[in-house]
Symmetry: C2
Amino acid sequence: MTSPAPGTVDLARLQEVLDGPWAEVRNAHRKHLDARFLPVYGETGDQARERVTGLLTELPVELGIGAAFPTEYGGASDVGGSIIASEMLAQVDLSLMVKAGVQWGLFGGAVAALGTRRHHDAYLRDIISGQILGCFAMTETGHGSDVQQLRTTCTYDPRTQTFDLHTPHEAARKDYIGNAARDGRMAVVFAQLISGGERHGVHAWLVPIRDEQGNPLPGVTIGDSGPKAGLHGVDNGRLSFDHVSVPREMLLDRYGQVAADGTYSSPIENDSRRFFTMLGTLVRGRISVGGAASAAAKSALTIAVRYGDTRRQFTTPDADREVLLNDYLAHQRKLLPALATTYALHFAQAELVAALHEVQGGDGPVDEHRQRELESRAAGLKAAQTWHASRTIQTCREACGGAGYLSENRLPGLRADTDVFTTFEGDNTVLLQLVAKGLLTGYRDEFGSLDGWGRASFVAEQVREMVLERTAARSLIQQLISAVPGRDEEVAVTDRGWQLTIFEDREKHLLEGAIRRLRNGATSKQDRPFDIFNDVQDHVLTAAAAHIDRVTLEAFVAAIEETADPAVRALLSRVCDLYALSVIEAHKGWLLEHGRLTPARSKAITAVVNGLLKELRPQMRTLVDGFAIPDVWLDAAILREEPGRQDAMAAHDSAATSA
Amino acid sequence: MTSPAPGTVDLARLQEVLDGPWAEVRNAHRKHLDARFLPVYGETGDQARERVTGLLTELPVELGIGAAFPTEYGGASDVGGSIIASEMLAQVDLSLMVKAGVQWGLFGGAVAALGTRRHHDAYLRDIISGQILGCFAMTETGHGSDVQQLRTTCTYDPRTQTFDLHTPHEAARKDYIGNAARDGRMAVVFAQLISGGERHGVHAWLVPIRDEQGNPLPGVTIGDSGPKAGLHGVDNGRLSFDHVSVPREMLLDRYGQVAADGTYSSPIENDSRRFFTMLGTLVRGRISVGGAASAAAKSALTIAVRYGDTRRQFTTPDADREVLLNDYLAHQRKLLPALATTYALHFAQAELVAALHEVQGGDGPVDEHRQRELESRAAGLKAAQTWHASRTIQTCREACGGAGYLSENRLPGLRADTDVFTTFEGDNTVLLQLVAKGLLTGYRDEFGSLDGWGRASFVAEQVREMVLERTAARSLIQQLISAVPGRDEEVAVTDRGWQLTIFEDREKHLLEGAIRRLRNGATSKQDRPFDIFNDVQDHVLTAAAAHIDRVTLEAFVAAIEETADPAVRALLSRVCDLYALSVIEAHKGWLLEHGRLTPARSKAITAVVNGLLKELRPQMRTLVDGFAIPDVWLDAAILREEPGRQDAMAAHDSAATSA
């Protein structure tokens, strides 16, 4: 290893690096949100919903999720800040975060992005203030991922100048809709637009669903999705429409207009392309969910690491020292690679938020290629972060033993509340496919966004020779890679350039292999497009995951490069080693199969990882403290009790008794 | 592949094989337990506890968990049957299963196993009938795994002929105790026995904790562990004792007696050995938990597979067929290896239950070596089954998308209720260490049972040259292994003998490596016993896991050998291939590192696994139907609604509309 061992780190410097450019938003939340905003255990579902709804309007607006709205309506025109606000809220209460995300991100965000000035003038202020609570009604019972094929219809009648919104059958009812079961007064409803007997694809309408007294409006049937695994404070429900009349001007018509006589027009001619452009404006939801998942993982890791630093498992024979849970190699193997991956994903997410802010934050038109890349990155990092959070919180809960199963120790709530993140705002497997398709077609497939494999329009011929797109710090990474000497065996496995090469090679080889297999498949069974893709699906998903791994490592490397403080830099460098080598260790089978690792080098990596664990053991507490989660937010009884300390005292007592 | 492709299977034949020798117990549960016994969602904790307690006494006794009690007290002297009853109850309601397990398995089981005739005569009938509800009070707040070091004391005073039961400090309070918070009238309390100023190690007393009105008795403080991730129907609580007087005869004195004058005597001289003998009689708890976890995984798989057989994800371009979720390779990759592993663990569990029944079911003395092996097997399979269940139920929940997050679809409850299984009845990581120590010392380390690494008495010199112990069907397995031709590359990866060799080699090599490293460590740093073991902890845990893999595969092979029906046999053989090759695929990194696989062969395995998925796709439904879980027990709204069908109808409607 070439870099010096990490020394004592100034926590404030570490926090500065992690907090990044929106430190002000983070600190406002840390200061403003006290114990009243925390989850309560043992409530009924009704109590949880009532409490969370009550808290919603007490959240900060211009430093909150509403920051993304235009300044003129009460927002702060700060897209990046609104994502950071979601991350912070996720460490307070995930129900509150999701409820706020539904209200301001999905519902309000759709009105802002898909509506035009008359909708903005009429509704945005009340939406931002929470006067009008609303729903984002896209998903249907029979259609989760294939949103382009929604069954709800909205048919224009020029005689009445109204639309007829209708749910044709049970499978077309809107399902899992947040804010629907209890609070929503309006909903942005997605449906197939039909005018003059012609279909124009999916559009959105702003539709009142309840009257002032909270009763469903005529023709609107509202159901309750009932108890869920978590997120008890969010009132998910079901909406059905029985020929509900919707005034013409309630069509959110930025991307498609219907004239009084029923003539349809749109700046985007192709239905699919228009639909995915509409969806693209909503990419923030996915970025918020990914960030929220990582934020929850940080809370869980903080609890588990602090607990493991006071708790003993067995009496040890080495009388001269106290052995704590965190001293066990098996415990370090559970927590430290998870912590290193959390750091890596933190920097990847920070880079993504900055990119979103740049692409969508301005007033000018959005660059389409950059938007596509952003969507792909958002999809990939959402999948990576939500799966990582599920696994990590689970690991933390097990690392705390029986205590981890009690609600008072926070982990059950973190686990159950984040669980749905792997399948909502896009099912993770479907999102990985989206990433893969973007890579395989160079983002040229205009129908790609949420598509399955079978669409005939995506044919294998479209795939191109691939060129890896660099993320941040292009020149730095190229420089590190170029500096690697020719012969692998001479390079330390902690050489950053070598690690980058391995990640890059793996992605490239997997993508090229997928391209080859898709081409061969297309030649041999052209009549079965589904089979062509399905036979390669596992390969293609692995390629997408490898891509996300590379993007994540490169973001980590870029963040280290930007870190000025030498001690923080040295620590991050070690954590980056652990991240990179954990990923390499996890994929050593593939790397050995493909001659990227020799058996001897592969075995050496396991030893180096164990060495890194030993080296980082004294820094575990620092690493979680760097997340700067206020004690009041952690709210875990095991941290208050510090049983290890008590027990250490007890050991003295008992020694005295038996003496 | 040499065996013929599986044809049409007679479900009744498959069920017969899976039901095994206790089919009568299984069928009694299937028949007796109707919808009243199922979980209810949206209840408060108090409502759940009240309901579950009410149902407890309606469970069958002689065909239930109580079957293990002696016939003379109302049981059926059927140890195996009581485990099977737990498995069945786990498919009905896991709270009810755990509540029953606490009452009859832990509490009643401890009175039966650790008490003597006067305790049996006085209490067993009322315990079996549920007249006396009780607790098993072992775990303390400050001590999860290291139960030998419990801090609660029970000190004999010959003047009053009573014991003084005392909780010296907060960390010594009994914690997570089932039946404590609400219902328990008595508790089997584990504490350090002190008599005549001398300590005699951990013993158990039968102690009343509440009066007839349900109020805590003087000196007993009862707390509530509060809301948990799951198992809402179980009243876990905390018990503290402030110098509670316990009559001498309430010591459960089968393994240690205190005479009126305070003289201590025991058939087992060594404190540790006595303690682990006492614990050993309670091995049933772990076997029940492992079986219950697998049973819950079967429920989850049945729901996910049936849902995936009706649900479509995307519209496909192949007009001549309907593509369902289960048709996607990625979906098969999620569900089918999990299903194959569930089959493998089913047969390993069945073998374990039969061994338990044989070892503990008779009247004669228990063979110590066999008992040790049984404990080790129970520990290993408990860890394997509970982790497998956590992962599998999670996979199933994600495979059902948003629907999988709703309580009405059963998966959230299955996931949350079984979650604690990975850390209760022995933390899984600690259990794997126990398995490893048994293997490394040939079960000769008498202090091994629940020990951590640091105990000075377990020194590296104890490790021996190892000989693999065969499981069932010794000769058959030797025969299969011997039949493998010399050169690997000539053998199909579906050759059972080759698969067995790979599993066996891996275990042997890992164990031998661990022995070597422990010896070297012992030579180089004899003064640091903790470090010796800690440096090798990951290696040793991997060896234990490899052992369990081998045991599981051998049990599957033995079960196939005993299957007469050719179609069932052919199907099981394919499922066994998938299990074996999935495990090999998961460990291909290690196998390549150690020259057990060539890169070409390793790649081929991935292709063969994908081929098996395709082949088993049409059998997915059969494989879950073989578990024979009554429809009423599955109780998932998505199975009742069958949205795929509705949607298929809807597609016709909508085609008609747009035409």
